[in-house]
């Protein structure tokens, strides 16, 4: 990783003069990392540049852009984060003209940690590290292979663990709404723990992540109840790809399918009655 770190530092140094800041990770007190906005005024901070653990940098970008919509920034992003940025762009949440993407390719152990199918960037013009192949997702495969009663029991237990911290929503780069349906008691019962099964919170959230989840797995990582929620998102993402030929973050101009009229063959693939 030292190699990537040095290259990344150099790349950032090159980019810094042309932007108002570069968003990347920095090691802080007690060795704890956090996203940081490096600036040319304090380039010495690059000594503390970090790569891992991965942090939700696009989420920080979102916060900065709300106050400074026209800021000219650069961001260090991994494959998933780049997809997240593309989706944010498609949802009119940022202007790509003002944003320099520095792609950071993941290494094998990192990809395996995230069970990531696409641990590489595709849109970034500047990249650091060598892209590697995606890795399989044994957890998702294992859960999908369960029988219906097994799934029912499994998810009941997982949902029972949920402490409703909203962390998965808070940390998600794709959750940028001003208000959230998950905070509306019309959909999610308030003040109850454990939440009644099946969890409205997780079901509604899974629906909202349809054609949106970029598989960064930040939600699973922050979850104090260790719920493998990305499994749902990944299975649905596969279905959406198969039914409607759509992949979040893959292309800059493809519109989310559920907004549009049926295309040739889509109805047949949807499994609805003829």
């Amino acid at each position: 990783m030292t190699d990537r770190l040095t290259t990344l530092r150099k790349t950032i140094e090159n980019v810094l003069p042309n932007v108002e800041g570069v968003l990347a990770l920095r090691i802080g007190p007690g060795g704890i990392t956090a996203p940081h906005l490096f600036s040319k005024e304090h380039s010495e901070e690059l000594d503390k540049l970090a790569l891992w653990p991965k942090e939700p940098v696009p989420d920080t970008l979102k916060i900065i852009l709300r106050a400074h919509p026209d800021a000219k920034l650069a961001i260090v992003c991994r494959g998933c984060e780049e997809r997240g940025i593309v989706e944010m762009f498609k949802h009119s949440q940022l202007n790509l003209d003002n944003l320099t993407l520095i792609g950071l390719q993941c290494e094998q152990d990192e990809a395996e940690f995230c069970r990531c199918a696409k641990p590489f960037t595709v849109h970034s013009k500047l990249t650091v590290g060598e892209p590697i192949e995606g890795v399989p997702d044994p957890l998702t495969a294992k859960i999908e292979a369960m029988s219906q009663p097994e799934k029912q029991a499994f998810w009941k237990q997982e949902f029972e663990h949920c402490i409703k911290c909203y962390g998965c929503r808070n940390i998600c780069p794709q959750c940028f709404c001003n208000i959230c349906a998950l905070e509306d008691e019309t959909w999610v019962e308030t003040g109850r723990l454990p939440m009644p099964n099946p969890s409205m919170y997780h079901m509604v959230r899974a629906m909202h992540m349809t054609a949106k989840c970029v598989a960064c797995r930040e939600c699973e990582e922050t979850c104090p109840a260790d719920i493998p929620m990305a499994v749902h998102f990944r299975l649905i993402a596969r279905d959406v790809r198969e039914m409607f030929n759509y992949e979040p973050g893959a292309s800059m101009d493809q519109k989310p399918p559920q907004l549009l009229v049926l295309e040739e063959g889509e109805y047949e693939r949807s499994g609805l009655p003829h």
Binding site: S92, Q93, C177, N178, D184, T186, K255, P256
Partner: protein, 668 residues
């Protein structure tokens, strides 16, 4: 955060007996007592049942309660809201309660009529009432939006119905675009010789109307044209019309007829002449065609196919032939649309037993109509397929394709009378024997049965029975049928058979319905708003149907509908402006995050994106209130008025609460 406090409202609940329609199955007294007691916590202060809520006394009951009991919400449990929602909304309005604070629940079509068990039906009624009460307290008063009505009208179809509608409107001073697919207006009626029961000359009564329509200053005639696209809504439709190239410059053409005289190419005319006669490659379908301009039939014209000829161009005295003419796309703005697209004749080939297409002397009704027409291919002579032999005996077969579960279940309504007319014409023109094979005789119109009696006296043989088969034999045809009156098989030899084919919806009726945003029945007839009370309107405001496109009809009924549709349109035009859907979508600008997803999801492009604010905005006049955007908006910043999440959820909870409580009492 939205305020989730349950509103405190005073709700009145009214349960209709509908005579015994509801009360015969649902214990309405029980429902109203129950609602008064059990739904008190939900805000119900009055609950009553009454014989006929829709009667003026029923309505007065509600109005009185509103005033005396200070009701702020009203629920009526009765028939389908499609029937009486407007009635009760008006009653509420009169008593000072906004019509959108009324909710109707359907315990007739969706309960008493479909449930056998009385107890179950009563339970279901309670559940539905509870759902309506749950919802109504969350309803908000809405004010309708008014938009001006474009006084221009589009009439689609130039048959007698369309002509009638167009003339009615044009005579009242409004402008009409009359679109006809064929080169001339006139429709089926122009093909007939005589009309039942009066035996008037069809052409004599139709052509003056055609002429009027063709020359009316308020009618823009667009023949040889089709509607391609319809956008907008009542009062403000934008219609795109393709005017196909005639290859004739209309402003130069005098209709002198030299072109079709000189045209060397003869074509079998299977549209107007039903295949019995010929026309040229440049032609008008019939002499009295309106407009008078011919068309060049691109597919059969020698010049278009082989590149040489141009005989018509050579001889045309005014130089009106234009081989390079292109289709024209017109866009017209209208406020209302009348569809009078008519019917297709049932294709008798589909019944192989009757041998049409295989046995030369089996004719269809339309062929016979053309044959008896003095201007037709046989100059009015009734002859066999050889064109010379007069038949000595003729069988007329009713219900061909109608009242037959293999083809159409419905009665085509005109065939009995048409067949009797044929019998009369055969007798008159040949003096031969006529055999009528019928299932039932249906003669319910004015002077119709008298006509039937008259035909019987003319000596026509009436055989009640469905024809099983027509076969060749004994130098002619043999009709096999069971005579159900005498209960015996009969084989009757005849020279000629006329199949009285039924009417069916146009082959492209579905496509047309889609284009105009209306719906079709199972047989593809256009569906009217209400079969009894609103027979010419459709569920789409501003689109009306008239004539046989809505179902089989004879000429008087078609003409009546044409006039009726015209009257409806004129009444709308007379209002000057029209109330449009109040239940439109609305964006909460504070919570909208500007992700533009709704913009893409709207079927009507009614959602605009305000770049400056970074927010979505619904253009109310374009919004039709489907609510698709609501399902798309993740933060729920869009609400559909009158169908808010809060209201739907409250309705669902109301229904569920009662179902659950029954479950509990049953267990206990």
């Amino acid at each position: 955060m939205k305020s989730k406090k349950k509103p405190q409202e005073r709700v009145g609940v009214y349960i209709c007996h509908c005579g015994s329609n509801i009360a015969g199955v649902v214990n309405v007294e029980d429902v109203s007592t129950w609602a008064g007691k059990e739904l008190e916590k939900e805000g119900v202060v009055v609950a009553r049942d009454y014989k006929f809520m829709c009667s003026s006394l029923g309505q007065e009951l509600i109005e009185k309660d509103i005033k005396e009991q200070g009701l702020t919400r009203v629920v009526v449990a009765a028939c389908s809201p499609h029937l009486h929602e407007p009635t009760f909304r008006n009653a509420c309005s009169r008593a000072g309660v906004n019509p959108y604070l009324f909710e109707m629940t359907n315990i007739r079509e969706q309960d008493s009529w479909v449930t056998t068990d009385k107890l179950e039906a009563t339970k279901k009624a309670k559940s539905l009432v509870s759902a309506a009460v749950g919802r109504v307290v969350y309803q908000k008063p809405l004010e309708s939006l008014f938009v001006p009505i474009d006084p221009n009208v589009l009439v689609v179809g130039g048959g007698v119905t369309g002509i009638q509608a167009a003339l009615e409107i044009a005579n009242s001073g409004q402008h009409v675009y009359l679109v006809e697919r064929e080169p001339s207006i006139g429709g089926h009626m122009a093909q007939f010789d005589k009309t039942f029961p009066t035996l008037d000359c069809s052409a004599c009564i139709l052509t003056p109307k055609m002429f009027d329509a063709g020359n009316h200053k308020n009618i823009t005639m667009l023949t040889w044209s089709e509607v391609e696209k319809v956008e907008g809504y009542i009062g403000n439709f934008t219609v795109t019309i393709r005017k196909r190239a005639r290859f004739i410059e209309e402003s130069l053409c005098t209709g002198c007829g030299v072109c079709w005289e000189k045209c060397p190419k003869k074509v079998v005319d299977d549209v107007f002449e039903a295949g019995l006669g010929y026309r040229k490659a440049v032609y008008t379908p019939f002499p009295q065609a309106v407009p008078k301009y011919p068309v060049i039939d691109h597919e059969n014209c020698t010049y278009f196919q082989k590149g040489t000829c141009k005989a018509c161009e050579k001889f045309c005295p005014t130089g009106a032939i234009k081989f390079d003419q292109q289709d024209e796309i017109l866009t017209v703005k209208v406020g209302n649309i009348i569809l009078a697209t008519g019917y297709d004749l049932f294709d008798a080939r589909k019944i192989p037993n009757y041998g049409y297409g295989r046995l030369p002397n089996v004719f269809t009704s339309l062929e016979f109509e053309r044959m008896t027409n003095a201007a037709g291919p046989t100059m009015g002579k009734v002859v066999l397929r050889d064109g010379v032999t007069q038949p000595k005996s003729v069988a007329v077969i009713h219900c061909v394709g109608s009242r037959d579960k293999n083809y159409h279940n419905y009665c085509s309504s005109i065939c009995c009378m048409q067949s009797l007319k044929f019998a009369h014409l055969v007798k008159e023109k040949t003096g031969g024997d006529v055999y009528q094979f019928y299932i039932d005789m249906r003669t319910p119109g004015k002077s119709y049965d008298e006509f039937y009696q008259k035909i019987i006296h003319e000596g026509v043989n009436m055989i009640r029975g469905k024809v099983a088969e027509i076969i060749e034999g004994e130098g002619g045809l043999i009709v096999q049928a069971e005579d159900t009156l005498v209960g015996k098989q009969r084989r009757i030899p005849v020279d000629m058979v006329i199949l009285s084919a039924g009417l069916e919806s146009r082959a492209d009726a579905k496509e047309v319905a889609q284009k105009f945003g209306i719906s079709c029945s199972a047989d593809d007839w256009f569906i009217e708003r209400h079969p009894k009370l609103d027979p010419v309107a459709t569920m789409t405001d501003g689109v009306f149907v008239a004539g046989a496109c809505q179902g089989p009809k004879d000429i008087p009924a078609s003409v009546a509908q044409g006039a009726a549709a015209a009257a409806r349109v004129l009444s709308i035009i007379g209002q000057g402006e029209i109330e449009i859907e109040a239940a439109t979508a609305m964006v909460d600008e504070i919570t909208c995050v500007g992700c533009k997803q709704c913009v893409a999801s709207c079927p009507y492009q009614a959602i605009q994106f305000l770049e400056e604010k970074g927010k979505a905005y619904v253009q109310e006049a374009l919004c039709k209130g489907c609510g698709t955007c609501v399902g798309t908006c993740l933060p729920k910043s869009i609400t559909l008025k009158h169908f808010t999440d809060e209201q739907i959820v409250a309705e669902m909870i109301g229904a569920m609460r009662v179902m659950k409580s029954f479950e509990m009492t049953e267990v206990a």
